[in-house]
Amino acid sequence: MSGTPARSMALPAAVAVGVLVAWAGLASRLPEVLLPGPISVAHAVVDRWELLGRSALSTAGSAGLGLLIGSAVGLGLGVGFLWSRALELAVYPYALLLQTLPVVAVAPLLVVWLGYGAPVAVASAALVSFFPMLTAAHVGLLGVDPEQVELFRLYGASRLQELRWLRAPSALPAVFAGLRTAAGLSVIGAIVGEFVGSNGEPPSLGYLVLRSARSADTALTFAAVIAAACLAGVVYWAARTAEARLIGPWHPGQGGGRA
């Protein structure tokens, strides 16, 4: 980390003020439908607070559950690849293929299978968070110091002991890097799922963005987009905090910085 704390607060704050001023200046010259100013967006946030809150919670739930499912499958398959070279050879190409599949294109299929509602958002969040977790687990579990593996073998360690006491902890930095990516993606995945598969029950950010944009309630669209950004920020921050707690004390990658 570079600079004094005061400086690291002041610089982003100055940027925020600059952006707000420019935004307000531009908005005063344009119709409200095209670009609502910061004040009307703030009004929309305050007036529709309850709807925004419920929508954000529902989207957060879908993203969180999807992330959980995607991570469980990704990490589980990573362990499977570690223990079975045959499984790795058979399945990994298709996992790669799955990653190149755009979730936007698959989401309508999910609606066909799951019907309208939150499950589509959960499934779409799971789909996008699965791959970064699988890659992280795969790289992390295999990227162990070979001499440490020899040490475990020398003492007759079982595969499970090797996983629990050597490979899993040493994979944690990679897994957390994957989690940061997957956490951000899961919010995007949930919102894409809501674009396609939400009928407004329960209300969700994706649905709110679509509906308010269609009914020219642009201030509410802005409010929903800001809520989505905050959500992604919270998810990222939570992943980062867990990372610092769990591996911060021993992992040299933590708290580095430029000279």
């Binding site: 001499e147 020899e150 040490l151 073998r153 020398l154 003492y155 004390p249 021993w250």
Partner: protein
């Protein structure tokens, strides 16, 4: 560096339980290699003694140590451990780099070999830590330790199961000269007390003559024994022993064979 220990260690009684290591017609060829790395090597290393394997880097001496550890299987011949069978934790290996688990404290790194066998022996961990002078650092993470301290943790981890066969792969190779000298004393005392059979790989002949009972010079392709020399005198020897005329003469003779 002061190390507390009992004065005389000629042939400790635990030597009775330590194995002699005998390489018989040993051969090793890497898959796809044109010539074998080792071909028909015969060598005996005595029980309960410290043997140093010396040779130019890349000659295959570390590979020989891995064969003795059972980490590699020979493609011909065999490695015979002559003596009572080794139980779990009967052999220990110290790598050139300390290979500590970064997420475990010093104490938890040292207790790892016991834990892998489902044993919990705080007294053994305590004794191993005390043998290398690290009782005060038990709660630290490896990150907080100097290179020399990490190497001592690595030795304590190797000693904790009271192995009868201790294999060391250039344990001092990556250390600066001052740290290396201070560690010689710690290592020599720690393994002398236990009477294990010790095989140490090094490229430093002076170090070999100071620490070992038998020095074996290896070289060539395939690997062969160039010279074997027994070094008389009790261990551990003080650092000044390296300047004794007999030691200097031994170093000269062995260097000529290198």
């Amino acid at each position: 560096m002061s190390v507390e220990r009992t004065p005389s260690v000629g042939q400790p009684d635990r030597a009775a339980t330590a194995p002699a290591v005998r390489f018989v017609g040993l051969g090793l060829r890497w898959a796809g290699a044109a010539a074998p790395l080792i071909d028909g090597l015969d060598l005996e290393l005595p029980a309960g003694r410290v043997s140093a394997l010396v040779g130019a880097s890349g000659c295959g001496k570390s590979t020989l140590l891995r064969l003795a550890a059972g980490l590699l299987a020979p493609s011909a011949g065999e490695v015979r451990l002559e003596g009572p069978p080794l139980g779990p934790g009967g052999r220990a290996f110290v790598f050139q780099s300390p290979n500590l688990l970064a997420w475990r404290t010093v104490e938890d790194n040292v207790s790892l070999p016991l834990q892998l066998q489902g044993r919990s022996e705080p007294a053994a961990v305590e004794a191993a830590l005390s043998a290398v002078g690290l009782l005060g650092a038990r709660a630290l993470l490896p990150r907080a330790l100097s290179g020399g301290m990490r190497m001592r943790v690595s030795l304590a981890r190797a000693l904790v199961t009271r192995p009868s066969l201790l294999l060391l792969d250039e344990p001092f190779g990556a250390l600066d000269a001052i740290t290396r000298r201070s560690l010689h004393g710690v290592f020599a005392a720690a393994w002398a007390e236990r009477g294990a059979t010790v095989l140490m790989v090094t490229h430093d002949i002076e170090e070999a003559v100071l620490l070992a009972d038998r020095v074996v010079v290896l070289g060539g392709q395939p690997l062969s024994v160039r010279a074997v020399r027994d070094i008389p005198g009790d261990r551990p020897r003080p650092d000044s022993a390296r300047y004794a005329p007999a030691a200097i003469e031994a170093v000269r003779a062995l260097e000529a064979a290198l």
